[in-house]
């Protein structure tokens, strides 16, 4: 652009971008790997002209100006091609010649990312690194009695219940009268939460399923995985592995035709049915699978035309109210499987979660409640929803649990917590804290993507292009050229690694607290935090 032309408002310089590509010309061999791998085409081959003065103390003729041309990497500065910091270029560069750096100053691109009147949409995370869960400490250490527990040698029963547990007296009464007793599953307290079929790539999905099957059948850990919206591959529905799967039905009902048709052919009941009313990352908003990712396979399984965006409405449009939903959906889903399968709703954490819970406690068929906090991940959403809406999970779980205690129904309706567990890598500590605050178990999604598939997203707005099908790791893309990068066997292996090491860490937390035979649900006397207000809010100890 020449200097005497007016500059457009959105003409950005490298300085204005959130991520800047640092490139070292003397190392580059011009192999082109980086430009080929860059998911957003942020870099291209650059031709640079260089004028060099050649002074000489000898003859006039020796002096002069040389015009040189050299080749290198140029970073684009337009909004559509701004670098996302994924560092795929670094990963593939044979000479360490290139890497992205976070702009330490204010990123001016924020003001221009609403091109064509569309505010920013992205996949990923809230991009706020703080976490109250990380600040909770376990303060009750059991040192008074018989030899303390040894996490490495002792036997532990780290199981939780998914399903409506009647009160002891009521259960006894129904046993006597041979009445109906709600189905309950005994599962591992760390669940792979719903990530939609269609949002995840086929290789990722397969990898997760294989990992879960291995954990169950070889490691004896009853780990469960939720499908997310979008249905379930027909072969899985008819396989014995279905018992490790929680089928999700969301407001778009995508894929449910297939599921319903498969019921007569199911060899096993699914572990449970999760009815999704909300996601913590975008409370009150529906799911959105953008057209980029709706290929033929996804379209077939979801029962829709290919290549169109698939927004789910924010609520189940067939239902008038949450009360009606609870009554009707839960009942009809229970009925579909002969009342043998637990059915529970999943909602976003919010100040109305309590109302939903109260509603559920009055319904024998409601098998639990999953609550997803503001740090939950999502396939696609508007930035404003992700960054500015939602409720933290810790206080929401606590409120709900304490409310259950008040009415004497704690653990009768198990509460499962999701959203930001392990977002800074402290998975076991975060999970244990939530369990001691009252959760019966926790759901993780993003953590699995990061640990099992190498998702490069971070809480610093890195990558987050999951929504547009260009996931550089092949995790959230339906483009075979991309998802071929991900080997399902590798994913499965990492899923197993992740769960087995989580198990060790969880034991390292509960053993010193003297717990081994029952999951320490609601053991709030073990918790402390160095913030008076937080301690008061969560009714735990204030420790400094």
């Amino acid at each position: 652009m020449s200097s005497n032309r007016s500059l457009e408002p959105s003409a950005l310089s490298l300085n204005d971008l959130p991520w800047q590509v640092k490139f070292s010309n003397d190392r580059c061999t011009l192999c082109g790997q980086c430009t080929a791998v860059c998911p957003v085409k942020a870099i291209e081959l650059g031709v640079f002209r260089k004028r060099t003065l050649k002074p000489s103390i000898r003859r006039q003729a020796d002096q002069g100006v040389a015009q040189d041309v050299f080749y290198g990497i140029r970073q684009k500065t337009d909004v559509a091609h701004a670098c996302i910091g994924c560092a795929m270029c670094t990963l593939v560069c044979p000479n360490d010649a290139i890497h992205p750096e976070k702009n330490p100053g204010l990123d001016r691109m924020k003001f221009h990312i609403n091109q064509q009147g569309v505010p920013r949409r992205r996949g990923g995370r809230r991009n706020a690194a703080g976490s109250i869960l990380d600040r909770i400490k376990f303060t009750r250490i059991s040192m008074l009695t018989d030899p303390a527990l040894d996490a490495g040698r002792h036997e532990f029963e780290m199981r939780t219940l998914l399903g409506r547990v009647l009160s002891p007296r009521e259960n006894m009464k129904r046993l006597k009268e041979k009445g109906w007793i709600p189905p309950v599953r005994e599962i591992y307290p760390l669940i792979i939460g719903g990530m939609s079929f269609g949002a995840l790539s086929p290789t990722m999905w397969e990898g997760l399923q294989m990992g879960v099957a291995y954990l169950n059948e070889e490691m004896g850990m009853p780990v469960r995985m939720c499908t997310g919206e979008g249905g379930c591959p027909p072969r899985l529905l008819r396989s014995r592995f279905l018992k490790y799967v929680i089928l999700q039905i969301a407001s778009g009902y995508f894929g449910w035709d297939e599921i319903i048709h498969a019921i007569p052919h199911m060899k096993e009941d699914p572990c449970a049915i999760e009815i999704k009313y909300g996601q913590g990352a975008k409370p009150g908003d529906g799911g959105l699978l953008m057209w980029h990712k709706v290929n033929k396979l996804i379209a077939a399984i979801r029962g829709v035309p290919a290549g169109v965006s698939l927004p789910s409405p924010p609520t189940h449009q067939t239902q008038y109210s949450i009360e009606e939903s609870v009554a009707k959906m839960i009942l009809s889903m229970s009925m579909a499987w002969g009342f043998r399968v637990p059915v529970y709703p999943k909602i976003s954490a919010s100040s109305t979660s309590l109302a939903v819970l109260n509603n559920l406690t009055r319904n024998d068929y409601a098998s639990g409640l999953a609550i997803d906090g503001e740090d939950g991940g999502t396939g696609a959403a508007y930035t404003v929803s992700m960054d500015h809406m939602g409720h933290p999970i810790a206080s929401c779980i606590r409120d709900n649990y304490l409310n259950l205690i008040k009415i004497g129904k704690q653990n009768e309706i198990p509460i499962f917590a999701g959203g930001g567990i392990g977002k800074n890598g402290n998975l076991a500590a975060n999970a244990a804290a939530l369990i001691m605050l009252g959760a019966s178990g926790v759901q993780i999604g993003k953590y699995v993507m990061q640990a099992a598939a190498g998702c490069v997203g971070t809480e610093e707005d890195r990558c987050n292009v999951c929504n547009v099908g260009i996931c550089p790791k092949g995790i959230t893309s339906q483009d075979p050229r991309l998802y071929r990068r991900l080997d399902p066997e590798d994913v499965a292996e990492r899923v197993v690694d992740l769960f087995v090491s989580f198990d060790t860490e969880l034991k390292k937390i509960v053993a010193p607290l003297g717990r081994s035979t029952s999951l320490p649900i609601g053991m709030s006397d073990a918790l402390g935090i160095d913030d008076v207000a937080a301690a008061q809010r969560l009714s735990i100890k204030y420790v400094v």
Partner: protein, 376 residues
């Protein structure tokens, strides 16, 4: 850790026997307090098995308030023992005005009450007195129940026994439970002294119950007025016992299935697997978690002992027909019943409940893997 001693005897004996055992086991407790339960009483109380006995610690002012309160309710004193203490203070024992053991005549209008209604009323009265005393600490009641005396105080057991003059002929019982040490994990509080008593069910424990908070939360939310207090992490054991036997209708063989359910693989092959997995699920909040030995009594004067699977050093049960002792250490038992056949001592392991019934003739072991009496 606490040291425990309990005995069940055909003939009434002095509590000093149990206190002697505690003293022998002294190395294992810090002497910070003692709790004592006497049941199936002998001596003057033999004649008044139906009369509720109030035991507690009162100030002068407290006793005046108590008298007014009881009179209002129509209770008349039938018999009392006032433990007068020496004028000279003893180091480590707090100064109190009056240790009261008083048997009452039931009010006339109670005549036609059922046993259950009576139980509720008696326990409500105890709670009321406790509440009245809360503010000024002038009334502390430990039990209000027929044929039952409870004494608790801070201090060394043997010193306390001398100080309170427990070696007297009016104080004799066929069931005696004693515990040395005050409290684990929580601040010193007189109510936290073991044993704990609720409507005829008593337990005392050593170990640490790390599941205290969830269990407390479960019990207090059952809507039963007497499920309250909880100054100690093991007070809940007594209430779980009451809940299992009274509210759920289980037998004593079921208690252990509530507090320490079988692990999955044992459960799967149990003759009552179906019932027990329901019990395990629904009573999950009552699972104790910690190395614990629980000794308890039932209203029919059975005495029992159970251990958690984590308890590496179990308690011991031994004796001879007519006299059996339950002790946390063998030396305690040796001190009290030296002439028993030691080869028949039983250290119940993690699956066992050792029971000596009201006839005091033998120790029965009920294994958790065996079929149980279903309340169905």
């Amino acid at each position: 850790m606490c040291r425990l001693f309990a005995l069940t005897s055909r003939d009434p004996v002095s509590p000093m026997l149990a206190i002697k055992a505690l003293d022998v086991m002294k190395e294992g407790h810090d002497g910070s307090g003692m709790g004592l339960l006497l049941q199936d009483l002998g001596g003057p109380f033999e004649e008044m098995k139906e009369a509720p006995i109030l035991s507690g610690i009162f100030s002068e002012e407290g006793i005046r308030r108590l008298d007014l309160f009881m009179m209002d309710l129509g209770f008349l004193t039938k018999y009392k023992i006032s433990l007068k203490v020496p004028k000279k203070p003893v180091e480590g024992i707090p100064r109190r005005d009056l240790y009261l053991i008083r048997a009452y005549e039931l009010p006339e209008d109670w005549d036609n009450l059922s046993k259950d209604d009576m139980a509720v009323r008696l326990s409500d009265i105890r709670l009321k007195i406790r509440e009245m005393g809360e503010e000024k600490k002038d009334m502390m009641v430990f039990s209000f129940w027929p044929d039952t005396i409870m004494i608790k105080e801070i201090g060394d057991p043997l010193l306390l026994a001398g100080y309170l003059g427990l070696d007297r002929k009016e104080l004799k019982a066929r069931i005696i439970m004693a515990q040395g040490r005050q409290n684990t994990n929580y601040a010193i509080d007189l109510y936290a002294c073991h044993p704990f008593f609720i409507k005829g069910y008593t337990t005392m424990t050593n170990g640490e119950n790390t599941a205290f908070i969830p269990i407390r939360d479960f019990l207090t939310s059952r809507g039963i007025a007497a499920y309250t207090g909880y100054q100690s992490d093991s007070e809940v054991f007594a209430h779980i016992l009451h809940y299992s036997l009274v509210e759920l209708g289980l037998g004593i063989d079921g208690y252990k299935h509530v507090i320490t359910p079988l692990q999955e693989r044992d459960l799967a092959v149990h003759p009552n697997a179906g019932f027990l997995s329901h019990l395990k699920r629904t009573c999950r909040s009552l699972i104790i978690d910690g190395p614990n030995c629980v000794i308890g009594t039932l209203p029919d004067h059975s005495l029992f002992m159970v251990q958690d699977r984590k308890k590496l050093r179990p308690g011991v049960v031994g004796g001879k027909p007519g006299l059996y002792g339950f002790s946390s250490e063998i030396c305690g038992l040796d001190a009290v019943i030296p002439d028993r056949d030691k080869s028949r001592d039983i250290q119940p392991m993690h699956l066992d409940t050792a029971i000596v019934g009201p006839d005091r003739q033998e120790v029965t072991i009920c294994r958790q893997t065996e079929a149980l009496n279903l309340p169905l």
